[in-house]
């Protein structure tokens, strides 16, 4: 059973210039106890996806179709705001990108960690003890006195670890991490990711990990979902997708990954062109305008072609190019 099974999810924002189709037919699974990475350029709808799952879309956004099945039973798109609120925290929790601003600046760390346990009927001392236990788990020095301190008294890396501690304190079934390490420097990024993996195994939750850092995805994740302009263009097991990328966009992403460049390369290759205007989506493939393999087959809606077990790509050439890629 999957912790999260998203199928055909569509999100539309109403804007002054007409409807903006931010997510189109998004389909993928987050299987139990697995870490699924989501990659894509900024503006491709990663945060919108998270907000749609959490029921925290901006007021001008609506889910216009599809379902989000949580733990095989409940379709979250049908939940009332009240039901969604009860789910957020204890069942699905989130770590956001910005460690500097993610904690309330005028409440002590302890107050905030105790407040998020407001549903539990334990005593305040028990809640504080639980908070200290979590802070120790994420290796905050002086965890016992940390509850008295305020966010500005911690470094960025420590704040992000506190945010992780808060997110995992209630042992959720699903942890969503929206670029949790982007704001950290490289060494901190590595330790934070190791910590996350460690805790995920300990708690046994599933993780949805958003990043645009392919190296991190390869290191941490079991599965990967590649997004482009609000669509899932390719998904599958990390190894499989990275070794046999079947969508032209994934291939270009991998070519452009700085980690793959030799040290001599001075100019980072980037994909020429821009994401299409989401208010006027092309009828055919969303990537066609920037694709080197474009042909007339790209002007009609693209099928999701399964190229290997669990590995699919939204490109009419998918089967053939995958074979070629494997042969080359």
């Amino acid at each position: 059973m999957s912790t999260l099974a998203i199928s055909g999810l569509n999100v539309v924002f109403s804007t002054e210039d007409g409807p903006l189709h931010a997510l189109k037919d998004v389909t993928f699974d987050v299987p139990e106890r697995r870490i699924v990475g989501i990659v894509g350029e900024s503006g491709c709808g990663k945060s919108t996806l998270i907000n749609a799952i959490l029921g925290l879309l901006a007021d001008n956004g609506t889910i216009s179709g599809g379902e989000v099945l949580f733990e095989g039973r409940d379709d979250l798109t049908q939940f009332t705001p009240r039901q969604m609120r009860d789910l957020r925290g204890p069942r699905i929790s989130t770590v956001f990108q910005d460690p500097m601003g993610a904690l309330n600046p005028v409440l002590s760390v302890g107050r905030q960690m105790i407040n998020i346990q407001y549903r539990s009927d334990q005593s305040k001392e028990q809640k504080a003890a639980r908070a200290i236990e979590m802070l120790k788990l994420v290796r905050i020095p002086d965890a016992d006195s940390a509850l008295e301190r305020y966010p500005h008294q911690f470094s960025g890396g420590m704040k992000q670890r506190i945010a992780i501690a808060m997110a995992l304190m209630m042992e959720p079934a699903l942890l969503i991490a929206d670029e949790p390490t982007t704001a950290l420097d490289a060494t901190l990024e590595v330790t934070t990711i190791e910590l996350l993996k460690d805790l995920q195994e300990k708690i046994g939750c599933s993780v949805m990990f958003i990043s645009h850092h392919l190296g991190v995805i390869a290191e941490l994740c079991d599965d990967v979902v590649v997004m482009y302009a609000g669509e899932v263009v390719e998904r599958g097991p990390v190894r499989e997708v990275f070794q046999h990328p079947s969508h032209p966009y994934t291939r270009r992403l991998l070519e452009c990954d700085p980690a793959r460049q030799t040290e001599r390369t001075r100019i980072l290759p980037t994909i020429p062109g821009e994401i299409p205007d989401l208010r006027a989506r092309p009828r055919g493939c969303v990537f066609a305008a920037r694709c080197l393999d474009r042909h007339e087959g790209c002007d009609t809606p693209q099928p999701d072609i399964v190229v290997a077990p669990g590995h699919a790509a939204r490109c009419n050439l998918a089967g053939q190019t995958a074979r070629e890629g494997a042969g080359a």
Partner: protein, 314 residues
């Protein structure tokens, strides 16, 4: 916190000293001889000379300043020209009336301004929000003495719901409170607008902050998010604004005291100017300055108590 308080107190002392210096310069620079001004046109030269010596005006300027400065810091603000009563006593006698009036004005502005601002921010873009916006601008734009006069005409003269003049029977808190309603409303009404706008703007900013998104992502109840997570931050600039605003309320208090014939420092200064009782004017201005600085200090200490970032930045 103690460290912060001590430093902030030091700053307050420095500001009061500077105010004393400026006040002294103003007295000194004003054309005319204070002794002849005080005694009026019919005084003889001998009388003027005697008063000049009594007031120390024959001494060099720095000696005069030193006397003024040390005197002021030890509470010696000179004597009233005619009665010879210590100015400090005269001012302190009137001070409680003005402080109560200011407190009343602050109460109105806080009790109405904060909920209105919050309400407008939460229902942003709604009819209620726009109504609060228009009313805020309206009450800010109308000068407080106009509010005072109309409040008097409507509620005291036409409707006769509330008393028109005075501060109420001494020793009767109920009567004093009834007498306080209209004057304090005149002092505080404009500030209802300022505070509502300020709270609305900072609430909207705070509600967009990523820590509020975090709080929502943990499913905290919306009330807890609004009042404990957002308002505690949004209120901080408002408190600072109020501290500064007390200066403006003090000047509104002068009008309110005159219109409602209430005792108070404003009325005292007004009468003192009419009777050329200049030591009282100087003394009252100095005491008012100290009050202003003290209330600002209180505002800063409240902000420090509420905001750990401010505490540690000192």
């Amino acid at each position: 916190m103690l460290n912060y308080a001590v430093k902030r107190l030091g700053l307050a002392v420095a500001i009061v000293s500077l105010a004393m210096f400026l006040l002294f310069c103003m007295i000194y620079l004003v054309p005319g001889d204070p002794a002849s001004v005080a005694l009026g046109p019919r005084a003889t030269d001998a009388m003027k000379e005697a008063l000049r010596i009594k007031m120390g005006l024959d001494q060099p300027i720095w000696v005069q300043f030193w006397h003024f400065f040390t005197g002021a810091w030890t509470g010696d603000l000179g004597e009233e020209v005619l009665s010879g009563r210590p100015v400090l006593d005269v001012v302190l006698e009137q001070l409680p009336f003005t402080l109560v009036l200011i407190a009343g004005g602050i109460s109105w502005s806080v009790a109405l301004g904060i909920p209105l601002g919050c309400w407008a921010a939460i229902n942003r873009g709604s009819f209620a929000d726009r109504l609060v916006g228009v009313l805020s601008v309206a009450v800010i734009a109308v000068p407080s003495f106009v509010i005072a006069i109309y409040a008097l005409l409507i509620f005291a003269v036409t409707l006769q719901w509330l008393p028109a003049i005075g501060a109420g029977e001494p020793g009767d808190p109920g009567d004093q409170l009834v007498h306080l309603i209209l004057p304090s409303l005149a002092v505080g009404l404009g500030w209802v607008g300022y505070i509502a706008r300020m709270v609305r703007a900072s609430m909207l900013e705070v509600l967009e902050a990523s820590h509020i998104r975090t709080a929502r992502a943990f499913g905290l109840p919306e009330n807890m998010i609004t009042y404990r997570y957002a308002l505690t931050i949004a209120i901080l600039p408002t408190i600072t604004l109020l501290g500064v605003g007390i200066g403006q309320m003090l000047s509104s208090a002068v009008f309110a005291e005159i219109v409602f014939a209430r005792p108070g420092v404003g009325k005292l200064v007004y009468d003192a100017i009419l009777t050329r009782n200049f030591p009282v004017v100087t003394g009252a201005v100095l005491v008012t300055t100290v009050i202003f600085v003290l209330l600002n200090l209180v505002a800063d200490l409240i902000v420090g108590a509420l905001d750990p970032r401010v505490r540690s930045s000192f």
